[in-house]
Symmetry: none
Subunit: 289 residues, 2 copies
DNA sequence: TAACTTCATGTAATATTATTTCAAAAAAAT
DNA sequence: ATTTTTTTGAAATAATATTACATGAAGTTA
């Protein structure tokens, strides 16, 4: 399907600083005249953007597409779609139907924003770290504890050793003895949770690979961790439902990470998941007899 | 607007009877799988539609396009404009960027479907039951346990007595002595989890108000409960990411329920949430000194 | 039904377009 | 200042789209 849900333009904007000089030329041209770009050939775009056809193709790869033709398709979808969702405030005495629409809109916008600035390479790197890790630890407090739990459930299903302890002391003890290559994932939407920061430092000291999972933007937590996963930052001041949308975004990133992980060795993954399912059914049958 | 940004699919339908036999083959193929067609080469489409590459090109001309590449662009625009999202299968060796878009699309579609068949009155009824309940119990297994936890966290924040025990025996004991008007929420996306059904029956027997929270469709669980909350049923067979999308839908319904609940007595709710926040901050400060 | 005409069709040749390779240039690192 | 790495575009190659054309089917006329 390509970039079906649009957002190619915002993705280009996001990766722009990471591109090479001549790729940036192409990027700027596309951002300026996507409607023209849509119908151009590689060579045409190369000359219009004062670069080369090779750079145009490289640009397409850099923004995560398979090739040039996909760029046209993606642009077309993006332009046709326009922007429809946005953040809405929830008012007093709201009609429930309106409420539902607003919450939906907020969640979708938050997800789209998260996708817009998702660092695909980072996802892949983290997925590989997890793949090699003998043990995985995930920790978060409050709503982030649910995310940690979700991580645990998902990777257990894949046959991994994952722990989402709530008890800091138990977690500390486990990490102190974790084998090399083990990973600690510290989850805090605000990036300001003291406990998570403490544990992150401890994990680092103990030689674990560390992953921070926070709302967008630099923070001490993201600075000191080896890898960073970000979710979009809802305009908190405006929307009281921030906690709600942010949770969806966090779960979404976990979903993505999970599938990225699974596709490292897809057949093995499918095997393991199938075995897990069978086990669940078996348990059911055993209790019935 | 330029070429192709119209309703290319309906144009194809319109001219279909006027096309030659082999052009019709192409047309039917495109109508059936526009999302696939979007990324094909001429030769691929020729073989898939059991025609020839020449016929494919002739077809493009016949529907008023300049050539084959324009068909892709037009289809992309059409699909993006129309049903923006849909359910997509995740394939092996998927490019991560494409993966992200597919997951996003699946989640959004699942949310939209859930909203589509959400019974607003039912939400309000359940919200009122919760409002009057002296104690609330939520129970689910696996991914549904996360939902139960989420419910607990949300209503604790509103000053309610909520329990999301994992231990069936503890839960049973608590419910046996629960005051009148207490509510039990049984969560099972499949509606087939034995434990949830058992507890639902027990809750009923103990005189609690019961709420089932399942995937759409009748089930024993939903039949015996006083109120039913449904989430959309993803086409499981097609999408391996079902568990993923369904979780989002479930959390979404909880969000809606939460805001519906809060708006029953909005000022009181805001007070309580504010107090909860202050408490969290205070704890932080206390540990810093 | 045979002979002719028209139109539809797929194959193969050709033209166009996308992609890769590679050597040179530029930028970083040492 | 020298080496290494990265970036770059020209040119070669691969892939893809388009066209030309021969063949055969369907229709028409005698």
């Amino acid at each position: 399907m390509g970039v079906g849900v649009g957002q190619i333009l915002s993705r280009i904007e996001n990766v722009l600083p990471k591109l090479t000089k001549s790729e940036q030329k192409v990027a700027r041209f596309v951002l300026e005249a996507p409607d023209e770009a849509m119908f151009m050939s590689v060579q045409e775009m190369a000359s219009r953007s004062l670069s080369s056809s090779a750079s145009v193709v490289r640009f397409c790869r850099s923004i995560g597409l398979k090739g040039f033709p996909e760029l046209k398709v993606a642009l077309s979808a993006d332009l046709a779609q326009g922007q429809k969702t946005g953040y809405f405030d929830l008012n007093k005495n709201e009609n429930t139907t309106v409420l539902v629409d607003k919450i939906l809109s907020n969640v979708i916008q938050s997800l789209k924003d998260t996708v817009g600035q998702l660092d695909v390479e980072m996802i892949e790197k983290v997925a590989h770290s997890l793949y090699k890790a003998p043990v995985i630890f995930a920790y978060g407090i409050g709503a982030s504890a649910l995310v940690a739990e979700d991580i645990a459930q998902k990777w257990l299903r894949m046959g991994k050793n994952v722990y989402a302890f709530h008890d800091i002391h138990v977690l500390t003890m486990s990490m102190a003895n974790a084998p090399k290559g083990s990973v600690f994932i510290g989850i805090s939407y605000s990036a300001a949770t003291k406990e998570v920061l403490q544990l992150m430092k401890f994990a680092q000291k103990s030689g674990l690979t560390t992953v921070s999972f926070t709302g967008f933007g630099r923070s001490e937590l993201s600075d000191i961790s080896d890898f960073n996963l970000f979710t979009s930052l809802a305009p908190e001041a405006k929307v009281r439902s921030a906690a709600t949308s942010s949770k969806h975004s966090q779960f979404f990133v976990v979903d993505v990470l999970y599938y990225a992980y699974a596709s490292i060795n897809i057949n093995d993954s499918i095997d393991k998941i199938t075995r897990t399912r069978k086990a669940t059914n078996e348990l059911k049958n055993l209790s019935e007899t």
